[in-house]
Point group: D2
Chain length 296, copies 4
């Protein structure tokens, strides 16, 4: 049993905190949304009155926030909590943010004598609820080993990718590939059907051929091909277009910072941006296929 401060109870953070409670930890939570706090209270967490108020006696401080500026603000902002984190506590940031911000916050933590890991996750809301998330971790091996038992209460797989920020970089690389692959799969199926093929027959073939991917196996972008995919329920649920757009924005900014050519990743970002401009920002990202076949 550990004392855990948990800040950020969104679609992901809420069920993660609940799983920590279920595992027997003493979890003190904060979020700006009263409804999120209420839900956490119902799940057995102790509700704090502010981010700072979660810290009392905490051995772990976990954050799961929407964007770089929230993470930077939480720890380093004018009213940042870093200075008040108890000595010896381990910081675990599960947000997906810019690697350089992860590195900056981790460096500030280290300067204060605190260890920190970046541990962005994949697996979606379902994975958060089921406790089967994947964590992609940056930071020292020692810090990761300390965090491991707690991470294992929320997820199943843990990948250690390197020093501070490496978790973010790796997640962005994976999601950049995913963003490209989804759109490319949509293009391929749209081309095939425009040429008279049956989308399901084509998809079935591709799913066991060299064109296979998570998009053909799990989340086919064409309605009716996979019963449980968002495409088969009006592109609802799943991973939102604008979340993929955010990740591709972070990936291409990292590429700009290191002078890395990512022509397909950059084009994919712009396809999701056009899909958003066309009014589909809130749908599953596989709705990008509508750019290629307007009637889908």
């Amino acid at each position: 049993m550990s004392r855990i401060a948990f800040i950020g109870l969104g679609n992901m953070g809420g069920p993660m905190a609940a799983n920590l409670v279920k595992a027997g930890h003493a979890v003190r939570v904060f979020d700006l949304a009263p409804a999120a706090l209420e839900a956490a209270a119902t799940a057995g967490a102790k509700v704090a009155t502010s981010a700072r108020d979660t810290l009392d006696g905490a051995e772990f401080v976990i954050s799961a926030l929407p964007a770089s500026r929230h993470v930077e603000g939480l720890y380093l902002g004018e009213d940042g909590i870093l200075s008040d984190v108890p000595d010896g506590a381990l910081l675990i940031d599960c947000s997906t943010i810019a690697p350089e911000v992860s590195r900056k916050v981790a460096a500030a933590a280290q300067a204060r004598g605190l260890a920190m890991i970046d541990a962005p996750m994949s697996g979606g809301i379902a994975g958060a609820a089921a406790g089967t998330l994947t964590f992609i971790v940056g930071g020292s091996s020692e810090a990761l080993e300390r965090a491991r038992p707690v991470l294992q209460n929320m997820g199943k797989n843990i990948f250690h990718m390197g020093d501070a920020g490496a978790g973010q970089v790796a997640k962005l690389c994976n999601n950049m590939a995913l963003g490209v692959i989804m759109a490319a799969t949509g293009e391929a199926i749209a081309l095939g059907t425009a040429q008279g093929l049956d989308a399901k027959a084509l998809s079935d073939m591709m799913a066991v051929s060299t064109g296979r991917s998570w998009a053909t196996e799990v989340c086919n972008p064409w309605p009716g091909v996979l019963e449980n995919a968002p495409a088969s329920r009006g592109y609802s649920g799943g991973f939102g277009n604008d979340l993929m757009l955010k990740d591709l924005g972070l990936a291409t900014e990292a590429a700009t910072a290191s002078g890395s050519p990512v022509p397909l990743g950059a084009l994919a970002r712009n396809l999701y941006a056009m899909n958003s401009r066309a009014g589909r920002g809130g749908l599953d990202f596989s709705s990008v296929v509508k750019l290629f076949a307007a009637d889908k």
Copy 2:
């Protein structure tokens, strides 16, 4: 045992014909290259003096040629053989060519009272030698059923995608997705390493995450990540850059014909074209990663 005419004994056709001989068929072969004919003779095939000379008594006519113009020329050209194919023979074209040419030749065959299927294959030279190719078939179900026993002497999987030309369309869709996925995977790994990650650690994570694909599982484009991948032996062997360039050219031309948007597929074609212009046309197509990381 069937009497089979086999035209085109290249890297793929040669071992395919040999497998037919091994299966007990009477195979009569032709190719313009004397060395190819010699190898086929050694394998037990009967060497013909011309494409027409293979036809005598043939129940199946199989062609495996480099490009649309060769197939059109063989069957419909000035000296085309279509008129001399024995009544009742089944035509099987295993070349990867433009769908519209497949449709045109099949229509001409039908006008002559002959059934024809397009059966482009995947699996590479190794699959051709081992008899484990995949055939992606367009044509009538009846024709496919007649062809099946012969195809099974050369391959393992058979997908029926629709009418004449559908095999070509489906193969091009698959390979277009593959071409995009390979380059996108290269971009992702190049970005990750430029940001300090280890290529193998990143690849291992991606291979079991949503960014996974044939490129992470079988043919990783980064040297040293997968021992048996072309990248780990100087990009030799494998599927040549200029063959992928050809397939993407066919795919984007099909897209132009049907007004289909394929922005990522089109960009991928141009990446492989640039890779070719940079002198790497003969290397495995995963060498496209050198556009993103010059020292790989």
Copy 3:
């Protein structure tokens, strides 16, 4: 005064034929659309009953047709007119078609002892009516000199780009650049306005800076910036999206044929294809900006 056969009286061909009549030539015309024939008759042309029927005594045969297949069909098809063209007549094809088809028809003409030039034009419907078209010519210098007086009755500028097909190649290169430039200008203005700039102020600056082009000077894609541009009248008139899509399709197919990388041209083709899929195929091609700013 010359005897001229004129085949194809569309938006361009109609006014071109009328200008030839006005210049004093004896013009015999044909088109499949009765209304087009009627208009030409009103303008003073003699209406023929078929393409072949225009040829009687013709010194020049001019064609202005929609696509490669029409030109190939007219001259070389089953009922093609090439064999009936009077000896010594000069063939002038003003259609925008695939360079390889231009070369093929020109070669067939030459085999029959006839000279032919490809003379695709630019300048639009307004230029055709005003007789101020630009002709971009492929063929021998001798043939061009013979054609020049006739071309000058329809246009103002004549560029000789090389042998048969060179006119087509050059026009496609120009229009490929134009297609990219228009979309890029749209992107730039959409970005500027999203960042708070005034579209007109931004455009005025760009029009005299290094980002200037025909798109900033004549056909600004943003409504209200240039009073006379299609964007300021609901994207009506101008050069249709699907015509640009056709030209970019021809350009990228030529690029595929010569293994040429044209990444931006290929992406532009796909942007216009997506614009078409979104229902804007009939609007001016500058409406592509709606992909970047949905409310424009």
Copy 4:
């Protein structure tokens, strides 16, 4: 005559400061490079010992620095000079940097009671030396009017684009369009020559047609077409590939910030990034054509 503090004496800043001296101003300069200071002294400027040391009695503070971090550091960094700028002085930042950094510094200046404009320039080293630069300005009209006489000592054209940061945004929009146009022009000429055209004949036609631009008129990317273009002297001089890469990085980051689709601009950034990876980062940006035609 005004007292001017000038910080940053690079390829642009050096000649700009010299022109201010020539115009009769009392110019006090600083740069980290001793050689730059020496050259400025020779030109008649007074050399300061630090950025802060330039400020004494200054009525104008002008900065011309390489990147966002330098500008932010100069004014707002740990040893930032903003607090020491004399009351009433006008700040003029001529650097090309991220709009958001311009806005941030301008806001800090305003909080200190100082007016500031962002005035990135175009016209290159030659324009800086000749005093014919173009300034693209963001900030209040009042501030611009105060700055105008000084700007006119260094340049010829002044565009007022809006409030703080608007100068940056507008310059980035212009340069993004330029970056796309240059590469697209290179693609078009490479395609034309691969199809047998003469590069000069093609360029001459395009330069007076709808495909025209600064790239066809002033800086043709093909060697030998325009005698004075960088392409005709081994791509030396001109505007470096990596400077264009920087501007496209800023433009695409601004696009990410406002969710703007810029597919062509983003692809162009990646083309220049690949050109840099191929070892041509220091050449003129028109050398991007080598991606399309390796032997140029």
